[in-house]
């Protein structure tokens, strides 16, 4: 932030009140952050003239000296104009200002959340510590906790709270009839042991960590392999995994437990944010750096908000406006994660996941792959030897320089001139008639070489082509390209276009170097043979040749511009691709690192192609068969391991502080570290700036989960509280800083956090503490006096009624109707059609069907950014990519329309009616059963009568539909 400096009034004639007012402004902006009434750094309080006059530990009258010496404010000396104001103020005898003491509108180091956990003894006389603190607040206001809710209400409430599902009528009855004194505790234990517990609580966690199964941005492609993380979260909740371990695994599981697959899967949390595939491959360096910087802010924001309740991301461009988080802390935290990338780049990982193997498995897997490669290489060499032995030695005319690559394509795609060997997908290997041919049933086949071993600038691509049939589609037969990405990657090649005119051209449309050279229409009939070459000269000229003669006119793509520049194909990056397709088949291809002359091209054409079919003895056929088998086995083997959308670790460049967050203004190098605001917990991780990724994440995970870090437990217990009562003790679960405010029950929050740590970070223990409290068990009855002052019941004078979250609404409808498919875990179901739009952009159109795969719980639905569902969206389901620690709850006509008319709602209401009809005979019994199933209670007599009337006149399905639309169905009391 740029702060305009404050200019002093001219020294003469400035009245004391004016000087005091200006001094107040300077002190408020520059000094009171540390020298406030509350913090009193060095014992000095500058918030009022009186306190300022008293001075700090160094005694009075020191202010001006510290400022003029440049000692204060630290590292940010005041502009001279402001020093002058303070000077005048001191000279005038520090006159008082009229507008009162300076109040900090931001948190300082003394903010409650940054202090160590402090337990206070609870008020005496209560069984539960929770109730002791809740009741103390109620008593202070003269209010009373509500009496315990009735058992039907209670079992419905606790079932939805723990499992997100309604109790079955049998479960309701069992609880209502259970006369044992610990009936309720037993109910809680049963629900905590249910696999549905993890399913429901995983959804809360997935909201917080923005679990998205598509990449967002322009393309929004699906991430096929994100779901293992969802299963990991469900299992972690069900196993009651200690929270510290849960957190450490998500930060550094791949390093902590390389012997388990969960370790790798857990790290998905870091990388599930949006992925700007197009921006990250931009030709413009700035654009890519910007995209990466945005991605890192997303990741840093996630970690800090989720585990610390701190909005560290707000300090990317400047010191935090409300909390004592210097900009430097943002970059320290960013450095911890600077080696982390999403597993979406790199061709092998296109499917959006990386192999998940334990350390031992990985070593064995790699050794096995190497063995495959060795056997395949040996077989290829044997075949090549046989072939070469039966053929005269290859030569080019004496006037032509030696080629850099020479692919005869007689029996394989090996380079006969050097080592630029090409390979094919195993099932695609087909060399017949001495040329590369697509396998049966395929339109085309491509062989891809290893990367070049030297840079290529001027060059010639030359090919002999067999015309199996006149091509109807455009085909690039022989091209060279830089492999590192689509944008900014160069490409040149021999291309046949079948558009308005059937002709040859240079393939680089993507580089805007293509032009129509006005060559004649291609008319070689089926069975014919062609010689085609393109020379790329050092001055940018591009010349096409056909059958030894110049084809059309030579051209330079926009001379003097980037188009016109000769492209460099880099060593270790550029590859050559050889393709036969759409009736055009390569017989031979050669790459020259020279722009050949007209005469040299003519000589190559005159020399012809040596296309003698290689000898095809039984020995060779046996070798070829074994080769095909080995290749097929290798592919299957390589694809066998499970994949996950987990971290892809790369060497981290030095992390630099960016002035104003601007990637073009890099500053000092920053070492990895944590936040510095916690009292008694240093944020210094003792790491050098170039520490390896493993040290960075392991140290941070250790720091994060250390018992001395008070935020770690506070933030979590507050989240858990929030999901029980609909609001947290701190009502902004991701922000414990100044903007998050004070907790409603500070002592209770401290005790819950300390108790949670004492019990090893057990969530199930925490649930029991809360669920067994009288505060949770009380009814939701209204107390008008309390409601007048505390309408949302944050002080818990009653249990606050809550609308079910979207997923629970859908799940309850499925469960009640009997349609629910209870299958746990596995790939996400996809209730949509994928629409692949032009421009590689995917969109999603919702579908509904009775397919059992689509009747699973909503947690297993694929979470697509642009693939919303009208009913779930209307019920406040968040966007997958948005961190949502707290959902909004709205009531709208569109929500009503969805519950009324959505195809799912309509279908499931019918299923419900069919179920009731099948399970009960008598009309009255059916109505009673429908009530029991949907609402967990029998109908009252007048309800039974009117429901019977509705069922008789409009059908049972109309009644079932109406039950799903009842407020009582959607609200937990």
């Amino acid at each position: 932030m740029v702060i305009a400096t404050i200019a002093p009034e001219s020294a003469q004639g400035a009245d004391p009140a004016q000087i005091a007012g200006q001094a107040r402004e300077v002190l408020a902006r520059r000094c009171v952050g540390c020298h406030s009434a509350a913090v009193k750094s060095s014992g000095l309080d500058l918030s009022s003239p009186g306190a300022a006059a008293r001075g700090g530990s160094r005694g009075p009258g020191q202010i001006l000296a510290r400022v003029t010496s440049g000692e204060m404010p630290p590292a940010k000396p005041l502009p001279e104009s402001e020093v002058e104001i303070l000077r005048q103020w001191q000279t005038a005898g520090m006159p008082a200002w009229s507008s009162g003491a300076i109040e900090l509108r931001r948190a300082t180091a003394d903010w409650w959340a940054f202090q160590p956990l402090r337990e206070a003894p609870p008020p005496a006389g209560e069984v539960s510590v929770i109730d002791a603190w809740i009741d103390a607040k109620l008593r202070a206001r003269g209010w009373q906790r509500a009496p315990e809710a009735d058992r039907r209400t209670l079992i419905r409430r606790v079932s939805f709270t723990l499992t997100g599902m309604p109790p079955t009528p049998a479960e309701v009855l069992a609880f209502v009839d259970d006369r044992r004194p610990d009936a309720y505790a037993r109910l809680v234990d049963r629900l905590l042991a249910s696999p549905h517990y993890g399913e429901h609580w995983a959804r809360h966690w997935l909201d917080t960590v923005r679990f998205a199964e598509s990449e967002g941005f322009e393309r929004d492609w699906i991430r096929d392999h994100a779901w293992p993380y969802r299963d990991y979260v469900i299992r972690s909740f069900n196993e009651d995994k200690p929270y510290g371990q849960f957190a450490r695994e998500q930060i550094a599981g791949d390093l902590l437990t390389p012997q388990t697959r969960d370790g790798v899967v857990a790290t998905s949390m870091l990388v599930l944010g949006p992925y700007d595939a197009v921006g990250l491959t931009s030709a413009v360096d700035r654009e890519r750096e910007q995209v990466r910087a945005d991605q890192m802010e997303e990741m840093v924001g996630l970690v800090a908000q989720t585990f610390l309740g701190l909005t560290v991301n707000c300090a990317r461009c400047h010191d935090h406006k409300f909390d004592p988080i210097p900009q430097r802390d943002y970059y320290r935290l960013k450095a911890v994660f600077d080696g982390i990338w999403q597993p979406t780049t790199g061709s092998e990982l296109r499917a959006g996941g990386r192999p998940v193997l334990t350390g031992a498995e990985r070593a064995r897997h790699e050794a096995d792959l190497a063995a495959f490669d060795r056997r395949i290489g040996e077989l290829e060499a044997q075949v090549g030897q046989l072939d070469r032995a039966g053929r005269p030695r290859l030569a080019v005319p004496a006037t032509v320089p030696a080629p850099m690559g020479w692919w005869t394509l007689d029996s394989d795609a090996r380079d006969d001139a050097g080592a630029l060997h090409a390979s094919l997908a195993p099932e695609a290997a087909a060399f017949t008639g001495g040329r590369l041919q697509p396998p049966a049933g395929k339109e085309s086949v491509t062989a891809v070489t290893v990367p070049l071993t030297a840079d290529v600038r001027e060059k010639t691509l030359e090919a002999w082509v067999h015309v199996a049939r006149p091509a109807e589609k455009g085909t690039t037969l022989f091209r060279i390209r830089n492999h590192s990405g689509f944008r900014g990657a160069a490409l040149d090649g021999i291309h046949f276009t079948a558009g308005k005119k059937r002709r040859w051209e240079n393939a680089s449309t993507v580089n805007f170097r293509t032009d129509d050279v006005d060559g004649p229409e291609e008319d070689t009939p089926a069975g014919g043979r062609l010689h085609v070459a393109i020379a790329y000269a050092a001055d940018g000229e591009i010349r096409l040749y056909r059958n030894g003669k110049l084809y059309g006119r030579p051209y330079r793509p926009d001379a003097g511009t980037a188009h016109g520049k000769l492209q460099t194909y880099g060593r270790q990056d550029a590859i050559v691709e050889l393709t036969s397709g759409n009736g055009l088949e390569l017989e031979q291809a050669r790459l020259f690192a020279h722009a050949l002359t007209d005469g040299q091209i003519a000589a190559l054409f005159a020399a012809g192609v040596d296309n003698a079919a290689p000898p095809r003895g039984a020995e060779r056929e046996g070798l070829v068969r074994r080769l095909a088998e080995e290749r097929a086995q290798r592919r299957a083997f390589a694809e066998a391991p499970a994949r996950a959308f987990a971290v892809d670790v790369r060497p981290a460049p030095p992390t630099r502080l960016l002035a104003r967050g601007d990637v073009s203004q890099p500053g000092e190098v920053v070492a990895p570290g944590a936040v510095s605001l916690l009292r008694g917990v240093s944020g210094d991780l003792g790491l050098p700036p170039d520490a390896p990724d493993a040290d960075r994440r392991l140290r941070f995970a250790e720091w994060l989960t250390s018992p001395e870090n008070p935020l770690f437990a506070r933030v979590l217990v507050n989240r858990v509280w929030h999901y029980h009562f609909g609001a947290g003790l701190v009502d902004s679960p991701n922000d414990f800083g100044y903007n998050g405010g004070q907790p409603s029950h500070p002592e209770l929050l401290e005790w819950l956090a300390a108790d949670f740590l004492r019990h090893g970070g057990s969530l199930k223990h925490l649930h029991r503490q809360i669920l067994l409290s009288a505060a949770f068990r009380q009814s939701s009855r209204l107390d008008s006096a309390a409601a007048a002052q505390d309408a949302s019941a944050r002080l818990l004078w009653r249990f606050p009624p809550q609308r079910l979250p979207a997923e629970a609404v859908r799940d309850a409808m499925l469960a009640v109707s009997g349609a629910l498919n209870p299958r746990l875990f596995g790939p996400s179901f996809r209730p949509f059609e994928i629409i692949k739009n032009p421009g590689s952009y995917h969109s999603y159109s919702p579908v509904d069907s009775a397919d059992p795969a689509l009747q699973r719980r909503t947690i297993y639905r694929m979470n697509i950014n642009s693939g919303g569902n009208p009913m779930l969206d209307a019920l406040d389901c968040p966007l997958p990519s948005v961190k949502t620690p707290k959902r909004s709850v709205t009531t709208t006509p569109l929500q009503a329309l969805s519950l009324m008319n959505n195809p799912f709602a309509d279908r499931v209401a019918r299923t419900f009616a069919a179920r009731v009809s099948a399970e009960r005979e008598e009309p009255a019994a059916r109505i009673a059963w429908a009530y029991e199933l949907a609402l967990g209670r029998p109908p009252r007599p007048e309800e039974a009568a009117s429901a019977a009337e509705l069922a008789a006149s409009a059908g049972l399905e109309a009644l079932c539909w109406a039950l799903f639309n009842l407020s009582e169905f959607l609200y937990v009391q």
């Binding site: 900014g488 511009t561 952009y841 709208t892």
Partner: protein, 457 residues
């Protein structure tokens, strides 16, 4: 209990009374319409979005110097890194109307409205990449997850008609814009303010129609029964405003089932009107439908209507031939949009409607590609948007780009400034229209934006 700096608007929303908020009566300050910070010039917004990046150099920003230097080399960074030589305007320009506003021959119908138009020629965006740039124009941010302007306006002003959505989106039926539905998302604002997609078809809104298999009389009986049960439940649970809101939401839903199809039924329009918009030509017919529907929605009091012309890959993205691409797109765009402006003016709606003709970025002064296929690359550093309607200087061009149209020579208008000014015309202070989310009081304008007084009447 909490010092969290939430606004009164947010407090009302957070209390769960979505509907009470939608009617915004509770926000009405004495003497002012509901929700505004000061007296507004415009009550509603129509945004026409040209997806893909309409070339400012071939539409509104006439650059004789660029034409003069056509074919000369010029070095500048471009998105694809393939910048060619300078390329002058490929369509002739002329000064139009009394005002003499420059508009090219590409847009004759829009040019006929020149004296009503306000053109900003110094727009600056933050991304040269389609999806983030479209998001930037919609939300002020290049990352997803932020509320679009229609959502903010709805949040700020509520709805004039409670049985119609306040923010309606009319996408190009050929393709969604890059990013799809997230472009009209509510972001972190409550779902109630998200854009509702309308199509000019029998069921313009998802889940609007009663399923075919349900008999109307059965549905009426069930709704009546449902209403009685919900009424009694609310009576038994006094003090829960959400329960009252639910009852009301079903009444409004039923009302929408009648009102929405009636609005979407374009057959009631006269043949002359349909011809004016271009229903008789397959090129113009699709956008004509969207534009006519837009007018009907605005007439009925919908607060914010967004019309998309083009979507991913059927758009103004003229990397290849600028002549082919822009001729084709303009032929679809110009007539319906011109007709819409005429129609709005004739009905007196322009007096209190703000019309924003936007695109995500302009196009480079240098060519991309060569010879017969010369196009232009993405260019966020300077481009043009047009506006008309309430509170603007008519027949006026604001800001001047440099002699090549590469950068603003004066008065740059960032997307944040553009948004701040639009909100200002609606009676909203962009700094006070905010919503607390994960540590920040979020605004449409982030921490930037100034109201551009220079083009206000």
């Amino acid at each position: 209990m909490s010092s969290k700096p939430i606004s009164r608007r947010q407090a009302i929303l957070d209390a769960g009374a979505g509907l009470g908020w939608m009617a915004v009566s509770s926000l009405a300050a004495a003497g002012l319409p509901a929700g505004v910070h000061f007296p507004p010039k415009a009550k509603r917004v129509l945004q026409v979005f040209s997806v893909g990046g309409m070339s400012h150099l071939d539409t509104f920003d006439y650059k004789p110097e660029l034409a003069k230097r056509n074919g000369k080399p010029f070095a500048m960074p471009t998105f694809f890194g393939q910048g060619g030589n300078l390329l002058g305007n490929v369509f002739p320009f002329a000064q139009r109307g009394q005002s003499g506003l420059w508009v090219s021959d590409l847009l004759p119908n829009l040019a006929a409205h020149a004296d009503k138009l306000t053109v900003v020629r110094t727009m600056v965006s933050k991304s040269a990449n389609h999806m983030p740039a479209v998001a930037c124009m919609n939300t002020g941010f290049i990352l997803t997850g932020f509320p679009s302007m229609g959502a903010w306006v709805t949040y700020g002003l509520g709805s004039e008609r409670e049985n119609l959505p306040s923010f309606v989106v009319l996408p190009d039926l050929r393709a969604h814009p890059w990013g799809g539905t997230v472009q009209w998302s509510n972001g972190f604002l409550p779902a109630a303010v998200q854009g509702t997609m309308f199509r000019s078809s029998a069921v313009p809104v998802p889940d609007l129609a009663t399923p075919a298999a349900v008999k109307p009389e059965a549905r009426s009986a069930a709704l009546a029964w449902l209403n009685r049960q919900n009424r009694r439940f609310a009576d038994e649970h006094p003090g829960d405003s959400a329960l009252e809101a639910r009852i009301r939401s079903y009444e409004l839903a039923a009302s929408m089932q009648l009102s929405v199809p009636a609005i979407a039924d374009l057959s009631t329009e006269s043949e002359a009107t349909r011809k004016l918009y271009g229903f008789d030509d397959p090129k113009t017919e699709p956008l004509a439908r969207q534009c006519l529907l837009a007018r009907r929605l605005l007439e009925q009091g919908v607060r914010f209507v967004q019309v998309y012309h083009g979507g991913s890959s059927v758009d103004w993205d003229a990397h290849g031939s600028i002549i082919d691409n822009h001729t084709k797109r303009a032929a679809e765009y110009d007539k319906p949009v011109g007709a819409l402006l005429s129609d709005l003016a004739a009905r007196g709606l322009l007096a209190d409607t703000l019309v924003l003709g936007v695109t995500e970025f302009g196009r480079t002064p240098v060519s991309q590609g060569t010879g017969k296929t010369a196009g232009r690359d993405h260019h966020p550093d300077c481009f043009s948007c047009w506006m008309t309607g309430a509170g603007l200087k008519p027949g006026f061009a604001y800001g001047e780009s440099d002699e090549l149209g590469q950068k603003p020579a004066e008065n740059p208008v960032t997307i944040h400034d553009f948004h701040a000014t639009a909100l200002h015309l609606l009676g909203l202070d962009h700094e006070r229209l905010n919503y607390y989310h994960n540590g920040i009081r979020r605004r449409l304008t982030d921490v930037h934006g100034h109201v551009v007084k220079g083009y206000l009447a």
